[in-house]
């Protein structure tokens, strides 16, 4: 969108397209999936090359890999308890899948697959299905009666308590997916809008060029903010998953 013909197309960046030529086109392999693969490979490479020295006193890259491991490990232990060990690889994968989506999207020519509600909702549904599966596996069908109608609740309140618990349980995947999706979309829409301002104003003579510094500076500040949001939203996604898993294992 260079030149005087610039117009604001804030949503075009989210458009999906197939990549890898006719092969990708024939199997509907989109740029979102390309970035998923890229993100996954980055995480694996970090651990592989980071842990190669297997040093007792870690170097920089090894310290980063160990920090990532320790961060998620601690989160699992603190939120779920000692049973958290079993879910550690899952939470680790989830956190870095989301984090890589958020971070790679901030690079030029990047694509934020976490800005697609279909992707985030699929992740959230996967979390809820796994959480429910863990709950049934741990407690059997008593999970439903104990979770949706906790012991000690007056029977008279059953018509009120059960629908509330069911609704709150079912709203989890919705809030989980929309939170991530909305955060990512909002940030990228704002990037695009301000960036288009810069191009439009720069095309409008000297005064416009000077005025374009404003939105440009805003975008720089926004980039720092978006980096924070990228980490924060991945963290929120992972920690909420841990909290749900804690509920599933311990019933509230």
């Amino acid at each position: 969108m260079a030149g005087g013909e610039a117009k604001i197309d804030a949503l075009g960046q989210f458009k999906l397209a197939t990549v890898l030529g006719p092969l990708g086109g024939s199997v509907n392999f989109t740029q979102a999936n390309l970035f998923m693969v890229l993100g996954g490979l980055l995480v694996l490479a970090l651990i592989h090359y980071g842990m190669k020295p297997r040093a007792v006193v870690p170097g920089r890259l090894q310290a980063l890999a160990e920090m990532a491991y320790g961060f998620i490990d601690d989160m699992c232990h603190e939120q779920i308890g000692h049973e958290g060990r079993r879910f550690f690889p899952f939470v680790f994968t989830l956190f870095f899948f989301v984090l890589m989506g958020n971070l790679l999207g901030l690079l030029p020519y990047g694509f934020t697959y976490t800005s697609h509600i279909a992707v985030t909702f699929a992740l959230a549904v996967m979390v809820i299905v796994i959480v429910t599966g863990v709950a049934i596996f741990t407690h059997g069908t008593t999970f439903f009666t104990e979770y949706f109608f906790p012991k000690g609740t007056p029977v008279a309140l059953a018509p009120l308590v059960i629908p509330i618990e069911v609704i709150s349980y079912l709203s989890r995947p919705v809030s989980l997916s929309i939170r991530l999706f909305a955060n990512m979309v909002a940030g990228h829409v704002m990037f695009e809008v301000f960036a288009t301002f810069v191009v439009m104003m720069a095309g409008a003579g000297l005064l416009g060029t000077i005025g374009a510094i404003g939105p440009m500076a805003l975008n720089v500040a926004l980039m720092g903010f978006e980096l924070l949001v990228a980490f924060l939203q991945a963290y929120v996604f992972a920690i909420l998953t841990c909290i749900y898993l804690h509920d599933a294992v311990h019933l509230h």
Binding site: A10, L11, L16, N28, L44, Y69, G70, A186, G187
Partner: protein
Amino acid sequence: MRRFPALLASIPVAGLLLPSAALAQGMPQLAFGNPLTIAQVVWGGMIFLVLYLALSRWALPQVGAVLQARAASIADDLDAAHAAKAAADAAMAEMTEATRLARSEAQAAISAAVDKAKAEAAAEALATSRRLEARLAEAEAQIAQARNAAMAALRQVATDTTLAMVTKLTGTRPGKKSIDGAVGVALAARGQT
């Protein structure tokens, strides 16, 4: 939800500025008629599964092993340090005990020596005092004997002296019988015999 204010703020901006054509077009994320929207999820699921398997079977155990080895070596070092400290403490206690024993032994030896010396001194003093007493008694006996001898000689000396003095004074030699009587009277007057 922290970003919701930002999202809400961006909506009016976008609403004012977006051409109506773009609005009508809608968000690509909501175009569920597009097969790519669902295709990316299917691919995404497969990629997530592969990533999960690679991480849980291959990558994460490497990190875990290194961390465990480190924790184990730290624990070993700590154990060794604790053992060394315990050994040092034991040696210290042993040394203190040995010092205490040696001190008490020395004390006992000193007091035994002192007692022995005191006993010897007492015995010696006793022997010395006995010897002195014996010599004292002997000396007293000698004195008494000398005194008796002197006393026995006193009448003779007095008689001879009287005889010599009276002879010198009077020029005549008095009778032995009268001098003896006079000396006996004088001696009796002085309590002597």
